[in-house]
Subunit: 297 residues, 2 copies
């Protein structure tokens, strides 16, 4: 971690290397990366750029199945983000839905699943502020009790919008763009997370907070140009995505280093606790057969 | 709170009204607004748009004094955001600093202040995850022990960058753009917060995470076109800013409504806790003598 006032470029580079040792450097050296399944990755092309989300069929199988079908049917092409509140969520989807009924089937709630001892759980806090154990599972921030486990509303999470009824979601989704709204946990179906282009998501055009984020003028809205499953892309466009393997020893060491800040920068030792939504789980993207690795988040 | 799948526009409007009753509507009806001092407001004109920050001389008098002097001397004109990590911070300031010594005086650490029973404290949690009582004070999220109180690293916070030494900050600053990095609390001087244009801040060009967010190419960087104290603006450009009065009964009711979610949307009652960084403190801006009120955050 280095904060400004640098005296010269060399000092800058040294500072970066030293002060970020518990984050940047350690996060790369020895890190174990998990390759993502091209059948669980969706490219969202927006006016603002490209966003890639990883779907989570282990936690939301029915929602993922329907979303993938909609993506393959080109349902989202030309639709918009019509409700966007800075610091909260960007909600997009079926604009015609506002005027006409939507024939897509309503989805059953997939708010949580039963705990299974075989799940690859990496604990973060035994009991966090929101009264549950927190941890990571396949790169997703999650929380659990003895009997259940659920994905948590951290920044970058993709979830299905709904009306009052639990089983009323169908096509419209939101991405969390601000401080984790954890009170939504287990009330909505989280079915993915952004692994590339969160900076693009942050450029989505906001509505007014006092108008519940609705962007009333159609021409003011950020638009979804298209969505495509990674597996459906042309061979020439194929990219491979990797995220930190949150079950690895290396990731455990990253958690430990963040929990126990050392080095000259921290004159006051921070409390030895971690907010599961504040731990970055990096992604990488590569062109196949290329040595040109690019870290994206 | 309403999440998509709306059947028609009327239903949409009704949903907005009903489901957001604990947030949008209540936040406006009966809210008490505090007018901000034009001598503590700074306009930052960026390539991306206009950002307005409220300074906090009560917590960081020396830092605010120097920052205001630098603003009035036009120090920041043309400088850039040279270290920007998505989900963490956007750091800007003296680009020449990288190559040449900076003659500005180093600032003493103003990481916390002594508790004073006369401070207008509105408690949020008696003991949050980070081992302190949280609350609001003059619109700023804060934390305290029996003896001290400090501003917390929530999204939108403005703080002074520094090197390893506590007293090494001078000109370069950062704005928190992601999940609250609370481990920085009491290790850096927070001296303001964004009250307008957080969506603009979110458009600042990011660096690569694995390069510690440094945007190496000067032409790739987001630029500060100018900064100006609100009090120094021409009469014709004057705007009045208001933020929710966090000492008011109305704000206390807003906290209570967020803590105790009711209505048909929440089938599972969320834990009765509040993350102090997840409570929005809205701002409003008005042209003097105008009835055209605009809520901005």
């Amino acid at each position: 971690m280095s904060f400004g006032g640098f005296r010269n470029f060399l000092a800058l580079m040294v500072l970066i290397w030293i002060q970020s040792s518990a984050t940047t450097a350690d996060a790369q050296e020895g890190m174990v990366w998990r390759k993502l399944d091209l059948n669980s990755l969706v490219y969202m092309e927006l006016n603002e750029g490209t966003v890639v989300v990883e779907l989570n069929p282990a936690f939301a199988p029915k929602t993922v199945k329907q979303f993938k079908r909609l993506v393959e049917e080109d349902f989202y092409r030309g639709l918009s983000f019509y409700r966007v509140i800075d610091g909260f969520v960007a909600q997009g989807g079926d604009e015609s839905d506002i005027n006409q009924p939507n024939p897509e089937p309503a989805l059953p709630a997939e708010f949580q699943r039963e705990w299974d001892d075989k799940l690859p759980w990496t604990r973060v806090e035994k009991k966090d502020m929101f009264k549950a154990e927190t941890g990571f599972i396949h790169g997703f921030a999650a929380a659990r009790t003895k009997s259940h486990v659920w994905l948590t509303h951290c920044p970058g999470v993709l979830a299905m919008a709904r009306n009052d009824e639990p089983d009323s979601g169908s096509t419209d989704f939101y991405i969390v763009i601000g401080q984790a709204p954890r009170y939504l946990d287990r009330n909505l179906t989280i079915f993915g997370r952004v692994v590339h282009g969160m900076d693009v998501v942050q450029r989505i055009r906001r509505g007014r907070t006092d108008e519940n984020g609705i962007v009333f003028k159609d021409t003011d809205r950020s638009r979804i140009l298209s969505m495509q499953l990674a597996a459906d892309r042309d061979a020439a466009d194929q990219e491979l995505f990797y995220v930190m393997d949150t079950s690895s020893i290396a990731f455990g060491e990253l958690l430990a280093a963040r929990r126990n800040r050392s080095g000259g920068f921290f004159h006051r030792k921070p409390p030895r606790v971690l907010d599961v939504c504040q731990v970055p789980v990096w992604s990488r993207v590569e062109k196949p057969n290329s040595l040109n690795r690019r870290s994206v988040q």
